[in-house]
Symmetry: C2
Subunit: 373 residues, 2 copies
Amino acid sequence: MQTERAKVTISVDAMGGDHGPAAVVEGCALSAAKNGEIAFILHGDEAVLKAAVARYPVLADITQIHHSPGVVQMGDKPSQVMRRGRETSMWSALTALRDHHAQAAVSCGNTGALMAVSMLRLRKLDGVHRPAIACLWPSRGKSGFNTMLDVGADVRADEDSLLQYALMGAAYYRNAFDAERPRVGLLNVGTEEHKGRAEIKEAARLIAEAAEIGRYEFVGFVEGNDLPSEHVDVIVTDGFTGNVALKTGEGTARLIGDTLREELTANLPSKLAALFASAPLGRLRKRMDPRRMNGGVFLGLNGTVVKSHGSADATGISAAIKLAFTLARSGFQDRMAERLASVADAQQEKMLGKDDTPAQDGSAEGDNQMGQS
Amino acid sequence: MQTERAKVTISVDAMGGDHGPAAVVEGCALSAAKNGEIAFILHGDEAVLKAAVARYPVLADITQIHHSPGVVQMGDKPSQVMRRGRETSMWSALTALRDHHAQAAVSCGNTGALMAVSMLRLRKLDGVHRPAIACLWPSRGKSGFNTMLDVGADVRADEDSLLQYALMGAAYYRNAFDAERPRVGLLNVGTEEHKGRAEIKEAARLIAEAAEIGRYEFVGFVEGNDLPSEHVDVIVTDGFTGNVALKTGEGTARLIGDTLREELTANLPSKLAALFASAPLGRLRKRMDPRRMNGGVFLGLNGTVVKSHGSADATGISAAIKLAFTLARSGFQDRMAERLASVADAQQEKMLGKDDTPAQDGSAEGDNQMGQS
């Protein structure tokens, strides 16, 4: 008992997913079975959740239920939810996080509403212009995952926002995948320096400059076909491009999967061949399983929020919970906040330096670079 | 002899591809073997091309060679090529098109340089703000292809450019795939009307308004996962987003292909299974073969230019040649020019109408809508 670490509590919006609360609770049970350090607060209809939880003895001692009668629907506009959403399970899940009853929150609900309520309840981190959503992407690299951000928090990003995405994305990747110095790339239409939009060229300069303080390596421009590359860990882009890229990748994978399935069921010999090849095809399916990639992390808020895909089943939800747990346990939220503040300080010092106050500049910058770990 | 249709001559930049002129000439031969109505002017090193052409009797009577000593390299900047590129095979190929010695041009060379030299030699169509590059995308639909534009001519597009892309893309699709009324979608981060950037909402309004004159159906917003959809034929977007989406799709397909190959060669049982499943896997490979999708069409110039992928082999090059042939034969270039002019007229009439000249407005608009076919 003495050596047991404190449990990490995840606040879970149990309603709002396509498969309903039963799938969410099953996802919690899958996680609990593998992880003795986890606890849950489930938000939603109490009677429904009590019945669902009762099916999994592993949840008995580690689960609280917060009754909330309302559910945010997929079609609800963020503005509606912000005005009238107080009774919803989403609102309740984020309030529990804000009040430190939990260390991270997970929801399958509508992305726009979840971001709006997260901003309202948690507030942005000091100095953050805009929060971002980071997704996971299958990678040829060691961890098996790259991350890309922003994939839809905002449809535009200027150079300063792109710099913050680089800092937040590196902090996320470092803590989620235990990578000392993540490699950051900036998404562009070519890797040559002269290519792309003006704000992207400027962002490249800022991101290169902040690499030391941000504890990442900047690998320069990357292209769409580099998203699964083993030469980059964090891909930075604006939320419009990132959202299109994410959905294009999903759509392409689905098209290939469907075509493969069609061909393997086209006639009797093909069906036999599929049976014969079930082992390698099963391994392919497992490696490309989108459920492994489930979990969009909201970065730049006072609290860790993980958005699970609306269509996620129990396995997918369990992956999102694992991500929330890993991030909460790592304490990355505090360290990311420190690092963002350091870069802001360094930028300010540099501007002061340009205004001919070199003495202050030199010493303060030294402090900033040394003080972080 | 009396009933034979006039041949369509394709002006081919035979240098500059990754596999050299031998692959380009082989691609021409593949096309000529299937198509009795085609002829070629090949541009490049005369001695090399003569030797290559001599290997294919089918090319003997239908091929001219234009000697040009220089080659545009993949790393050459557009500005360099514009200044010093007169001696190159690319320049020569576009000059032959401009001078009406050929009805379309094909090149495997560097995209940026090809667009720059195309603009210089052919000039933009009257009223076109910016040319666009349209790519092919595998589709679940009947033709097997969708088209997306712009995929990299320009990194930005305002609402007027997006409208022109819709008009040009619809004209292209109609003529390449014999589709009476192509369905046009506008790429966005969601299909709800309130989503996306301001210029995209405005573009949606303009594209909807011009549907009748442009002879397309506007299906509204589409998302990244709709790119292979059977519910849309032409996907309109800016060149930055389009380029990232195109390369993301290619990269995802390659990742899945590589993973499948790894699993099918992982051990002896898997290798046997691969052998056993070679028929359905071969059909999958054929349906997803990127060489079928080869050929980026430059739209908005006084002449049809098809950009083949630099890494295309003879099969890929032959697909690009077929596309150039189909478009040249259809005479779509002239009809597209007419349609762009009609929409510009209609917009102008409407603006005049807003300035209180309703009489002129009504009649002229009627003319425009009736006069086209």
